[in-house]
Amino acid sequence: MSEPHQNEGMVEQEAPPALNPQDTERFNQLVLPHLDSAFNLARWLVRNRTDAQDVTQDAMLRAYRFFGGFHGGDARAWLLQIVRNSCFSWMEKNRRPEQEAEFNEEVHVPNSITPEALAIASNNRERLTRALETLPPRFREVLVLRELEGCSYKEIAAITSIPIGTVMSALSRARQQLQVALTSPSREEAAREL
């Protein structure tokens, strides 16, 4: 008796619904300005600019179709929530082997990492990019939202649907892992090879 899943088709093939002129105007004013934020989050989640463009465009169309459900508040957080959901669906469908690895929450930063060693290791854009890309998606997500997008804990909680009380510990674990990835290149390279 189960009904077929509805609206499963790719959004981009459907014509966007006609919002009334006021809503279209509101969408253009409130949501479109956050296209950079949307793309930046997608780029770091799917880790590829071409795919990020597709996912972002898909998410913008979803946002447009769904704008009736936006009842004011933080438009950037509202949009980024849709973007991250689109990214996670995309990653689910296009899973690469290294994403199978469950993130190890028990990683501790060895005491030997001094701020100086870390400064040297992280003083290289290429290396930082690779280190960030080796982190599990949920860690990349909180780091990008906090460090690149400048989101508050409250906004991060709204976008990622994790309880606000655990944002701090998620960031703490994400930063520890980033430190480890930066200062142990062999491990980082090994993860890339997979």
């Binding site: 509805q6 770091w44 463009q53 972002t56 179709r65 769904f66 959901n85 870390l118 906090r146 930063r175």
Partner: protein, 252 residues
């Protein structure tokens, strides 16, 4: 001597998310804990490296154009631009044709209206789910204890929704709230599923039991069924199979 403060405090401090009292407390702690001073320095240096590396990537012009052009056809032709000479007679004729079409559609496909109802309701349910994810909207009563959540609904609703915790089966109850679906007040139970939330909307429908039907909208899955005269709708961004599991637990 090992520091007794939770490691996460450093991050709250670094991000300016501690309240004034806890921040002052942490600063006092820093004066006597070299371990935390070092850890904070590491974090500050990591942050400035991230800033310096300019990792933020703006949307390429190509994407901006694609997005704009995909939205453009949707813009309705402004009414003001049309000739306003449409007479009432024209509108009446259109209305008559529509009524006729609706009536014949209903005669030909009696089940059609019901299905459209369900699609419309599904859209409302997904809306309600999204609304609930806005900060501070998810739960009015936060508790993992069904014996706290259930009495909370007393006096707020004219029916008693079944409230059960399924933590043992991977669906911990995290709380409940009142919501509005289809113009009526309904009970919303919130279950956790790994990092996701599932909203279960419940209201009395007086209908006889039905097998579950499911679907998805905007990437959110839903599953709906009737049991003991109540309508149940579960919705989430978690996998559809998870919702099937929860449905079985709820109808046990």
């Amino acid at each position: 001597m090992s520091c007794e403060l939770p490691r996460t405090m450093i991050h709250g401090y670094l991000d300016g998310e501690l309240d004034a009292m806890r921040a002052a407390e942490f600063e006092r702690h820093l004066e006597q804990c070299p371990e935390c001073v070092t850890a904070l320095e590491s974090q500050e240096s990591l942050r400035s490296s991230l800033q310096r590396a300019e990792l933020y990537e703006k949307a390429p012009a190509e994407l901006r154009e694609k997005v704009l052009s995909s939205l453009r056809p949707a813009r309705p032709i402004p009414f003001a631009a049309r000739r306003r000479q449409n007479t009432i007679a024209q509108w009446l004729a259109i209305a008559a044709v529509l009524l006729l079409l609706l009536y014949s559609g209903w005669r030909l496909f009696p089940g059609l209206g019901q299905k459209n109802n369900q699609t419309a309701l599904a859209a409302q349910i997904v809306d309600a789910h999204l609304r609930s994810l806005e900060p501070g909207h998810l739960t009015d009563v936060i508790s993992t204890d069904q014996h706290t959540v259930k009495p909370w609904f007393d006096g707020k609703l004219d029916f008693a929704p079944p409230v059960q915790d399924f933590a043992g089966d991977g669906f911990p109850l995290t709380g409940g709230r009142l919501d509005v679906v289809g113009g009526r007040t309904v009970a919303a139970l919130v279950y956790g599923r790994r990092k996701h939330f599932v909203n279960v909307f419940i209201w009395p429908s007086g209908n006889s039991d039905t097998a579950p039907s499911s679907g998805s909208q905007q990437g959110y899955h839903w599953i709906a069924w009737q049991k003991n005269g109540m309508a149940f709708w579960a919705v989430s961004d978690t996998a559809a199979a998870d919702l099937d599991d929860l449905q079985r637990l709820l109808s046990r």
